[in-house]
């Protein structure tokens, strides 16, 4: 069953999702509280997953939601909470300054116009380039044949007893994940080695003292 080339709803759906993605990403880079930025990132990631679905890539959309929208967002939220906790920062910020130009406090770097100009410049030049070279990218949208997940797994894992084309990259990527786990283990170890000596120095009420206090107290 081949999908129609330009169904009626496509432009509206596209512009909605695209607008959502771009608005979300703008919020990510402009929000002062990291939690707001993380939630905006979540919206952006889900919008992009929607765009993948429009591009007839359901597997990638699923991976996007499972990995990015769930795992990475949860990771960021946890780290925001943990950093707030560890660094003992108050969760509410100082009141915003009145002049727009005085962004130069700890949220934005002092040379923020450079970054803004770079981003806008890149956006403009890329858009110009892409629109100008429209002929390079033919308008054809090839309808996929067969199941999308099946095709991807064929490339990765192969079929009929022979591995897929990207089997080596798959193994190397699994090594990459192993390195990530090793890294997490190392970092827990190193923070513990920082914490442990400090814990020893703090005076602890011993069990006998506590019992004695309880007896004398009542």
């Amino acid at each position: 069953m081949t999908p129609p080339m330009t169904p009626t709803m496509t432009p509206y759906l596209f512009y909605t999702l695209a607008g959502l993605a771009i608005a979300g990403s703008t919020l990510v880079v402009t929000r002062r509280k990291p939690v707001h930025a993380a939630l905006a990132l979540l919206v952006t990631l889900l919008a992009i997953a929607g765009l993948y679905l429009m591009l007839y890539a359901p597997f990638v959309a699923g991976v996007q939601i499972a990995l990015y929208a769930v795992a990475v967002t949860a990771l960021f939220l946890f780290v925001i909470v943990l950093m707030n906790l560890l660094l003992n920062q108050p969760l509410k910020l100082q009141p915003p300054s009145h002049s727009v130009l005085r962004f130069a406090h700890r949220d934005y770097s002092r040379v923020w116009p450079v970054g803004l100009a770079a981003g806008c410049g890149l956006l403009a030049s890329f858009t110009y380039a892409l629109v100008k070279s429209r002929t390079l990218f033919p308008d054809r949208m090839v309808s996929p044949s067969g199941s999308n997940t099946q095709q991807i797994t064929t490339l990765l894992y192969g079929e009929n007893g022979r591995p897929g084309q990207y089997i080596l990259s798959l193994e190397i990527a699994s090594l990459l994940l192993l390195v990530t786990i090793i890294g997490a283990a190392i970092q827990v170890g190193s923070s513990r080695s920082v914490i442990a000596p400090l814990k020893k120095e703090e005076p602890r009420p011993s069990v006998e003292d506590r019992d004695e206090r309880r007896i004398t107290n009542h």
């Binding site: 089997i167 990459l176 090793i182």
Partner: protein, 508 residues
Amino acid sequence: MTGLSPIDYRLMLPMVELTIFALGLLLIDLWIPPEWKWLNATGAFIGVLFSALCVWQIQAILPPRGQIGFYNSLLVDRFAIYFWYLFLAAAALTILGSSRYLDIENEHRGEYYALLLISVVGMMCMAAGIDIVLMFVGLELTLIPAYLLFGFRGRHGKEKENHARAREAVRKFVFHGLFSSAIFAYGLSLLYGFSGSTNLAHIVRALGAVNPRDPVVIIALLTTITGLLSKIAAVPLHRWAPAASETALTTISGYILSLGMAAAWVLFLRIVVFGMLPLRAVYAPVLTVVAIATLTLATVAALMQTNTKRLLAYSAIVHTGYILLSFSVIGSERIASPAFFDALKAMLIYLPVLTLMNLGAFLVIAALRQGAVLGDDLADLTGLFDRSPFVAVTMLIFLFSLAGIPPAAGYLGKYYIFRSLVESGHRSLAAAGVVFSLLGLLYYWKIAKPIFTRQPQPNPPLPVSLGMRSTLAITALATLVIGVYPRPLITLVSWVLGIAQATHVAGK
């Protein structure tokens, strides 16, 4: 397409060996008591030896055009074999020199060696990869252990004032690296868009059919090259190198700045020279400008440094600038012309020598640590000749090599680069290169001077462990031997390029 053949397994064997040893080290480390941690180093070294043995086995049966494996993702040609040997050798030297140093810094863990070995696996992927997916994943596999190793703080890293520096260094090294990897990935996605395939050979063909001045092509070029330039520490994306060298443990800085940069150069060569060959008229002028900027800025910065490790980092950046200069030749010459191959030959000669001398210099600084000297400040080097003549002489050899003074091997790379520049008519660039080399003598003198000054009261002698001594001896010896008798290396490089010549002529 049939399944994986025995050839494929044999091609994969070096990487598999390293992985097995890395995993083994992770497990064994749990059972080793602290005073026996040097077993980790021994195990890692043996692993590297086994891997080198497997590489030699591949080389023995290698067909002249190189062996393609794994469904066109791996191309183990002579170029790959050459660099595989280099990576393994440099890794072995790093492992040898790290054992006592890590003991002193209280960071002697099996994970260090495991991460090092896995990082080398990533480098091997990049060197032999012909599929951009494999190369990208290999790049990540090379860098992420580097970020983790960067987080080993050592004894002095846990102190108060070093934390603020560490945070800035993390921003400069880790985030900068992630940022440039992402930009590089964007460029790769555009390359895929042009060709519809992730295979570098198809990409070359597709790029040959496209107008080189097309805006989107320029964007693809821009993003890819920007990402790669950041990895080789070219200006203006060089900020990570001094930060990484200053705050990481010295052996790790040495590994990142010598081995890591060599691997980044290999990726650069594979993608930019082999992969984007039709576009070289467009990117060559850009790279030349970047080269001059790199040379200028890094020389000026190096002249102003008082921190030894940062100075060495800037000197590494300067050498990147020299290698980039030869891209002006590549851009202007026809493929398969002698000048083109001269430029490639110069780069291939430069890279191993550069790796060895950078690594050696950093290992000398690590050796200082064994005498309870931090080695950060130039003043820490004072009177080294009195404390340990051996270490001082090896450092002198490395400095000669870095500065390009015969008989140490450093002059070879510079000589070939300047010669190829002059022969293809870029005489002003060659002259500029010579000027920067002479300026380089100034900041290398800054390192050499404290070493050979005699102090009024002599410091205690520097006890250097056997591992470190053998590493320094091997590296210094190799530098001298290559410098005095360069014929084998040059023949080796011609052998490597001989195949590249046939490849290009055949229109691959």
